[in-house]
């Protein structure tokens, strides 16, 4: 019988709790704001003897991911956490972890990248890693951060996937705000994630293997990349299957995307992360004013749920895609680029506008969200579509 505990806790505290319940053999991590409280919480579990984990307090994020790669290749269950500059410092290791097909789970406390230095939320760090071959989940709330962490491990270690997973939560907004969170008991999590069966483990001493070989000089590098692409493609069904199984236990919904009032929407916002609630709030207000507004929240960014988004946006007359990240020189933010590309397959041509919002933790006030819906309504009424992206609320 599953016992649920309801707590008031920050996103970071419940992510650390999920880590503990997933019982990793190795955690190698380095402090960085606003992730630090995850590794601090975990350090308490280590000191209290509540985990069997070998906790490696490395001297940098680069070494954090390097040690995670070594530990995962050795056959251990491995989890870690980072943010912003730390994720950026890991850049080459992110590609190596996915190329070596190591199912490492890493929490990322989304924070803007320097310069100028800024410790607050945006998705520039995670979006910078979007082509690194990691499955990427984004949480809106502390509850989702907890749920995503557990599902991430199950997905990463699935024999059909064997890819690392980045599980993102918004810096400070989610990492540090105290929210109501329902936690599962340890046995339920243990039984959900199951035992990890590593492949090609270095510590399988009777069967020596070589990890990290050179596949140049006409070697099969191209074939290995294709295998990675295939695994990423397969991960979609695994996420759906495991999130459905998890939802059954928690009685909480979990989708690659989550829609709000989309059935008959004329205008819609596509968004990721903690600001989704702001969008829903405004959409609800607008509904009472007779505007058919809806929201599509993207919870899984890699693999990108393009078909699901196209289906959710069917019948919508104008769409705003809100990115909390820049892709300088591109035709819009990363989520916009993906969404507009997916919408090429839609039966009808729908105007889409790229909005950049909330960089470096700048406030996403409700009136700004309302501004977006107003712009969309103007477009629906025959107004022109902006020919470039819009910096929402920027001076």
């Amino acid at each position: 019988m599953t016992e649920k505990r309801t707590v008031a806790a920050t996103g970071n505290v419940v992510v650390a709790e999920a880590f503990r319940q997933c019982a990793p053999d190795v955690v190698a991590a380095y402090p960085i704001t606003p992730q630090t409280t995850i590794v601090e919480e975990f350090a308490k579990f280590v000191a209290q003897g509540r985990v069997h984990t070998e906790y490696v307090t490395v001297e940098s994020e680069h070494s954090a991911m390097s040690a995670c790669v070594g530990a995962s290749a050795a056959g251990a269950r491995v989890m870690t956490a980072t943010a912003s500059q730390g994720l950026a410092l890991m850049w080459e290791e992110l590609h190596i972890a996915s190329g070596m097909r190591l199912p490492i789970v890493m929490a990322n406390a989304n924070r803007a990248l320097s310069a100028p230095i800024n410790i607050h939320c945006d998705h520039g760090d995670a979006m910078g890693a979007r082509d690194a071959g990691w499955v990427m989940l984004f949480a809106e709330s502390a509850q989702e951060a907890y749920d995503n962490t557990i599902i991430s491990l199950k997905v990463a270690e699935d024999p059909q996937v064997l890819l690392p997973v980045l599980t993102c939560l918004d810096g400070f907004i989610t990492t540090h705000s105290i929210e109501r969170v329902d936690l599962l008991d340890d046995e339920t999590v243990e039984s959900f994630v199951g035992e990890y069966e590593p492949q090609n483990a270095l510590l399988d001493l009777d069967n020596p293997v070589t990890h990290g070989a050179f596949a140049g000089l006409g070697g099969p590098f191209f074939e290995f990349k294709r295998a990675q692409r295939d695994a990423m493609d397969r991960s979609k069904a695994v996420i759906e299957r495991e999130s459905a199984a998890f939802s059954k236990i928690t009685e909480r919904p979990f989708g690659l995307i989550e829609t709000f009032m989309m059935d008959d929407a004329d205008v819609a916002i596509v968004i990721i992360g903690s600001a989704s609630g702001n969008a829903r709030h405004v959409a609800r207000e607008l509904r009472s004013e007779g505007v058919k507004a809806g929201v599509v929240k993207v919870r899984c960014f890699r693999p990108f749920p393009g078909a699901e988004i196209v289906s959710a946006l069917r019948g919508v007359k104008a769409v705003a895609v809100l990115d909390r990240a820049e892709s300088f020189g591109a035709q819009g933010g990363p989520l916009f680029l993906e969404t507009r590309s997916a919408m090429y397959d839609a039966a009808e041509r729908v105007p889409l506008v790229s909005y950049i919002y909330g960089l470096g933790g700048s406030d996403v006030r409700l009136e700004l969200v309302r501004e977006v819906y107003t712009d969309l309504s103007d477009i629906v009424a025959g107004g022109s579509v902006p020919d470039s992206l819009v910096y929402l609320g920027s001076r």
Binding site: D25, H52, E54, S63, A67, A76, T210
Partner: protein, 314 residues
């Protein structure tokens, strides 16, 4: 300390068929070190470089041990992760508590003195039960003989060229062995491929200690040193006999000069020119206009030995 005859009973853990150059000192170092590891299983790691790439060209590996290459600057961190996994899996009950495994990370001087120094320092400070081996051939040989902080003063390299305005590398070699000794780890030693008894003894000690150990091993690169392939051992031996590469160890903080260098000092240190003149990378030093630099290199060697002798209480 096993004899050569005894060592022949052990498995050679580096297979032939690798693509290192003829006469390469790196594989000589690896063979001697892994022979000294004894009978227990060894897990090996290696930084990007000649040794790594030449021994693991897909689908062939020369490593009979489990092996991992991750990247250039993180051989120490990577193997520290493997060692952590061993401890974590023991704690999980998945590996028997009394199981013994050795862990060793290799890196060249570029991957150790330069880009991997932070990773190495971190791993040594954290106290992982692992051996780190720097095979020092004094330049970035894999990318084509660029200078590193392990390149000797005056050496030609493709990023410390020889011309009217410059006579090879301007700076002295960084004393990496002393830097690692300053970490206060149980065992640190400097050795050369030319003195197999000294090197295998040191490797045996390094594997035997609980906690981190570090070996800095001079390993000839005929290609980069512009030395004849068949002279790889001879030139490394001269490095020791001239005092260019003193052999010493630091065992639980106690420094001592090792037998090859003790004997070289007793017999009278050979002039460093004997080491330099065997190598094309130093040939410009023997031109009249570089006489002063050559003298300075001899002074540097003498000063370094004075320092090492001082640390060794001599």
């Amino acid at each position: 300390m096993p004899t050569l005859r005894e060592l022949t009973h052990r498995e050679d853990r580096l297979a032939g068929g690798h693509r290192l150059c003829a006469g390469c000192g790196a594989s000589i170092a690896v063979r001697q070190i892994l022979l000294a590891a004894g009978e227990e299983p060894v897990v090996t790691g290696c930084a990007t470089g000649c040794l790594e790439v030449s021994t693991t060209i897909y689908p062939y590996t020369s490593w009979k041990t489990p092996f991992i290459h991750n990247a250039f600057e993180n051989s120490a961190a990577t193997v520290s992760g493997v060692e952590a996994a061993f401890k974590g899996l023991k704690a999980a009950g998945k590996i028997p508590a009394d199981k013994k495994v050795k862990f060793v990370a290799f890196g060249g001087d570029g991957g150790t003195y330069d880009i991997g120094l932070q990773s190495l320092s971190g791993a040594m400070e954290r106290g992982h039960d692992m051996v780190y081996v720097c095979y020092d051939n004094g330049a970035y040989m894999n990318t084509g003989i660029q200078r590193s902080s392990g390149t000797p003063k005056g050496a030609w390299a493709t990023t410390s060229e020889v011309g009217k305005a410059q006579a090879g590398k301007i700076q002295k070699r960084k004393d990496l062995t002393s830097i690692i000794a300053a970490h206060g780890i149980p065992y640190v030693a400097q050795a050369s491929i030319s003195h197999w008894k000294d090197l295998t003894t040191k490797a045996e000690k390094a594997f035997a200690v609980e906690g981190p150990a570090f070996l800095n091993v001079l390993a000839t690169c005929p290609r980069g040193w512009r030395s004849p392939y068949n002279k790889s051992i001879e030139v490394a031996k001269l490095a020791v006999e001239t005092g260019f590469w003193p052999t010493f160890e630091v065992e639980n903080g106690i420094w001592s000069l090792s037998a090859p260098s003790v004997s070289a000092e007793r017999r009278g240190r050979k002039p460093v020119t004997e080491f330099l003149q065997m190598q094309g990378r130093f040939k410009h030093l023997f031109k009249p206009e570089n006489a002063e630099l050559l003298a300075e290199i001899q002074t540097d060697v003498d000063d370094y030995l004075t320092y090492i002798n001082g640390r060794c209480g001599g």
